[in-house]
């Protein structure tokens, strides 16, 4: 009985979830990619955040870190040298990622300029 009720609850929640998508205010819709979950989430730190903002969403499907850097450089020429610099490290799921690392659609990539403590 318990599992049946859980299934029923789950099933009955689906129409309302779909409805909330339909009812989403138009001004919040940034692109068709958002509905498909294909936006790449990017976070920047340090001087990169000054240049590009702390967060950015890009309409991109699966891509490598290198491709993501190139896409950001194309869209933001003033930050081109910084984002393409290999001194800026990419981080995915809290692990430093190489240029060939593939990021799935809807994934999050963080870019770290050189760090300094002390």
């Amino acid at each position: 009985m318990k599992s049946g009720r859980t299934l029923q609850d789950h099933t009955s929640s689906q129409p309302s979830a779909a409805k909330s998508l339909v009812d989403r205010p138009v001004e919040r819709v940034t692109s068709a990619f958002e509905y498909e979950g294909l936006q790449m989430n990017v976070r920047f730190y340090g001087r990169l955040a000054d240049l590009l903002g702390e967060q950015m969403k890009l309409d991109m499907a699966d891509c490598s870190i290198g491709q993501l850097r190139a896409a950001i450089a194309d869209r933001h020429p003033l930050a081109r040298a910084e984002i393409l610099s290999q001194r800026v490290r990419a981080c995915v799921h809290d692990v430093i990622a190489g240029e060939d690392h593939l990021v799935g659609a809807g994934g999050t990539v963080e870019f770290f300029p050189p760090v300094s403590g002390g």
């Binding site: 730190y45 001087r47 955040a49 809290d94 300094s116 403590g117 002390g118």
Partner: protein
């Protein structure tokens, strides 16, 4: 025994030392501490009103843990403690404090030196100096990298 703390508010190095001293065992004959302070002027002699250290929600603490653990592993020390500030820091306030306790002084000196060299180049912070003339992001110097390379 090691501990590393990320601190978002001003802290008192003297109180940190007193607490650390209570935890060291009877075999300890040396405690070395280092305190790094926010300077009121940058490398070019211009006034710094605020030093801002941006940190990462998860990875900054992890980097501090990794450095403290590596110091405890590498040197013959009885204990290591470190505190690192983040956020807005006024000139004269402590940014970083490290302590190493050992049976003899050499290991304690070396461990504290090692911790600082790694913190300068590898702790996950982004450091900005804010002054009347604007803001500047600060990166490790060539000297900082040379000092770090001594331990490779």
């Amino acid at each position: 025994m090691w501990r590393a703390r990320l601190c978002l508010e001003p802290f008192d190095p003297a109180a940190a030392l007193a607490a650390f001293a209570k935890q060291i065992d009877a075999g300890t004959g040396a405690v070395v501490t280092f305190t790094g302070l926010a300077r009121g002027a940058n490398r070019n002699g211009l006034a710094v009103e605020t030093l801002f250290l941006q940190h990462h929600a998860r990875l900054t603490q992890r980097s501090l843990d990794e450095i403290a653990a590596a110091g405890a592993e590498r040197f013959n020390v009885a204990g290591i403690d470190l505190i690192h500030r983040a956020g807005a820091i006024a000139p004269g306030e402590a940014i970083v404090w490290v302590a190493a306790a050992a049976a003899h002084r050499r290991a304690a000196f070396e461990a504290a030196d090692y911790l600082m060299d790694r913190l300068k180049t590898e702790a996950l912070f982004w450091k900005r100096e804010d002054g009347a003339d604007g803001s500047t992001w600060v990166e490790p110097t060539d000297d900082d990298h040379r000092e770090r390379a001594r331990w490779s």
